[in-house]
Each structure stands twice: as C-alpha cells, then as structure tokens.
Amino acid sequence: MRLNDLLNQTSEWLKATGTESEIVMSSRVRFARNIKGLAFSHWADEKQKKEILTKTKQALLKNKYLNNSLFLVMDELNDLDKQFLVERHLISRELTADGGCKAVDVSEKELFSIMINEEDHLRLQVMRSGLELKESLRLLDKLDSELRRNFDYACNSKWGYLTACPTNVGTGMRASVMIHLPALVMTKRIGKVLESIGRINLAVRGLYGEGTEASGNFFQISNQITLGHSEQELVDDIDRVIKQVVEYEKGARELLLKNSRHQLEDEIWRAYGILTNARIVSSLEAIGLLSAIRLGVNLSIINKVDIKSINELFITTQPAHLQKIEGKDLNPQERDLKRGDLLRDKLK
C-alpha cells in the first residue's frame, strides 16, 4: 500500500457501521508499550532509537494482522503528508517532530495504526465506528499478543506496563470515545452532563459553540487512570457512561422535535443552504454547519445525503486533505475556496 492510496478510501471508523453510530462517532483504544532494556524513546540516544526502529519494524512486518500495511518513516515524509496523517487520526502531533527515528505502520483498512518512537517505543491503536470499545480492546489485544512474541515488554507485577509518562503506567491503555452531542448543547443541558461524567475517573474534552457559531459539538471521553483497574473494567466504565449519555442526547433530540421543531428545522436547513451554496468556507464554519447537517440526517430531516458522507467531510475539509485532493499546496484563501467547492459537490 502507498500513502496516496489512503486518499481513495474511507477510514473504517467513518463508515457509521458501529453501535449507536448516529451519536457515537468512533471508539479508539491505545496501548503504550516499551521493549525491555532500552531507554524510553524521548530519553534514548540516536543509536538506541535506531535499534528500537529496527526491532519494532521487523516485528511489525511479520505480524499477521498487518499484512500489506503501509510502513512510513516519518523523516522521509514532507510536512503536508505528516499533517494528512494527523488529520486522519493515524498519528499524533508529537510524531510529526523532526528526527528521532519515528515511524508509523498503518493496517490496510486503517483499523490499526502503530507509532514507533513517539515518547514510548510503541503506541498501538485501533479505531472503530460507533460504540465498540469492547470489540476494539479485543482486537488490540490480539495485535499486542502477536507482537510480544518478538521481544519482552518492560513491565513488572506491581506497576504493570512501564511507560515514559507515569500517567500511563499500569495497563498503558487509553480508551476513548468521540461523541456528537448537538441536542444536549442546544438545550443547554451539556454542562450538567459533562460535569457528572468528569467526577468518575473519566476525562472529558470538548470544543463547542452556540447557535450558528457551533463548532462541532464533539466531545471526547476517555479513561483518566490506567493503574489499579483492569483493561476490561476501565472499558466497561466508559461503555456504561457513554450509553447513559447517548440516552440523554436522544432525550434532548426528542424534546427539540417536540417543543421547537420549526427552529430546529430552520437551523438545519440554513446550514445545508449555506454549505450547498457558499463559495468561501472556513474550517471552523464547515465544522459547525456540518454538525447541524449531521443532526438533520440523523433525525431524517435531511435525506439528500448519508451519514457516512457527512462523517467523511469532517476529515476531508481539513487543510492537508484539501491540498492532497487538489494535488498541490494551497494558501488559506485558496483552501477556503476549495473547501466550498468540495462541500457543494458532496452535499448536493
């Protein structure tokens, strides 16, 4: 597989095939792993980093879950391609820094991605559509078991998997869910809901707006602790909380339909009207309006476009994607024009 092949495919997690995928965009599980006897990547010298890259690359290339994967050495990529991978959720921003023998291995359908020499030797990731944390954990466990036949991991019975950052020690696992909560934001119930989640060892991060300035209404909920509970317990906790939040969001959607259907429909159709006609669209505007359209599609107010296409547009309207699609560098003004073109084309 080659990097540009990614442009012609939709990441699995955007396909809206998973449980509750109308409200839950995606589930992701990540493991931090280090090989015994070598300094953690952020503290290792160049020679050790090279050794880490060689060892992990060999192991990844023969891993049966990574057949025909895309193995990329970060220093061989230009900035645009690096940014493209960030936008696709395949690598972290940290992995785009120069030097350090960094690499990433992406499985064929972008189900798995493995970062090498971020701050830990290995960061394994699996990403799925909808609320599929348990299945995600099962899949990542398989990949991990296969991988650890190749080397001993740094770990002990007291503190589990040893990681560069003490916030990740133990399971070395971060499970997270990205959830779309426009109705809870519109009905101003979001604050209370988020506050109650934040109390129970979970971290909530969100970026949201008001009215037409709404900037996505997406929230990320992940486990805050990694030590003292098993992987299964941590995942079950998030799963339980998300199911509850999904019910709250459904309740808020019903309430909007019952009490302010006209205003709701107006907001959704205005968003659709703008994106199917505007010539210049900023990234922020696109995300806010796409959020409203996404709600409209979920509530069957809009039937002209499917949820998978909307999900995809959240990613393809980002700067590096626009430039890759166009096949050349674009300045911000050119990007806003190109974004308008793409949205009109895909939404009509």
Binding site: K36, E87, W159, C165, G228, S230
Partner: protein, 171 residues
C-alpha cells in the same frame, strides 16, 4: 458570556476539560480563536488536534514539579529524580525501581491506586512471583513498613498476606 482573552466580544467557542471533577473552561470569541490559532495552527490545541484525539495520551503530571526532592539517579539510563520533576517523564523501565520512593505517592495521587490490576505478559507474571516468593521474610516486612508509611494500603495488605503465607509454611 464575554471572551476570556479580550474581555470585549461575546465568546462563541467553549473549551471544556473536566478531569476528576475539576472543571476547566475557556470561553473565547471567534476573533481571538483565530488570532490564537486555535482553529488552524499546528502548534496550539486546535480542532484538528481535538478531532484527532491527541489529548488523550501522555499529559505530563502537573504534580511532578511539586514532589519532594530525592537525590536519586537511575543507574541504567542516568536520568535523575530532578530531571523527572522537570520533564514529567521517566527515562527507562529501571527508573521505576530507582525512584520507587518518590513515585509511589505520585502514582497513588494520579491513579488513586498504585497496584497494577490489568493484564500481563505470562512470562513477566511468572518472574515477579518467583522473585517475591524467593525474598526473605525480613525483606518483605521492610517493604511492608514502607508501604504502610506511604499509605499504600492495598500493597500493604498484599505483602501482609505473602508474609503470613510464608510464616505458615515455616511452622
């Protein structure tokens, strides 16, 4: 609600972060968000980063800098406890043994526990068990004392059970 940066315009973007019940909110107007590059900059926290979920991993513990001083250095990688307090990262797996005294209370503070309860590679499980079972009762009692002093009660209970088991075997 007014913007937290310029205090003039109406805030339209709200960044919320709630960790262990502590709510941090930042309200920013559209102009300031653009000016601060929150929308498109690659350096600052922005929507792309949020959507990419970059913030869920490896946030340095903010408490590390306030830790007690220990004059310790990891024999394997050379990182000192002072370095750790500065960068919030350990240098290698051996650091966890070298800095155990300083790390145990920090881990308890971060995670509310300092005892792993998840999966382990099979080989490692075997190793650690034999190591502990091979240890003398004196050594274990010393560890128990440290655990009690650090208020690591789960660990203390576990050690106590091992010691009890060993004493029984002796009798």
């Amino acid at each position: 609600m007014l913007c937290d940066i310029c205090h003039k315009k109406q805030a339209s973007i709200h960044v919320t972060e709630i960790i262990n019940g502590e709510v941090k909110e930042l309200h920013i107007c559209d102009t300031c968000a653009r000016a601060k590059g929150m929308i498109k900059s690659s350096k600052n926290f922005g929507l792309a980063d949020f959507l990419a979920g970059l913030t869920d991993f490896g946030i340095a513990p903010k408490d590390a800098g306030e830790l007690e001083d220990f004059d310790l250095k990891c024999p394997a990688c050379g990182l000192s406890f002072e370095d750790f307090k500065r960068i919030g990262r350990l240098g290698c797996a051996e650091c966890y043994d070298a800095f155990e005294k300083g790390l145990a209370p920090l881990l308890r503070k971060i995670h509310g526990s300092n005892r792993h309860a998840g999966n382990m590679p099979k080989e490692a499980n075997k190793d650690s068990k034999t190591a502990e079972e091979a240890g003398s009762i004196d050594e274990l009692e010393e560890k128990l004392e440290v655990a009690i002093k650090n208020e690591e009660f789960e660990e203390a209970a576990r050690l106590r059970d091992i010691i009890r088991g060993k004493k029984k075997k002796k009798i």
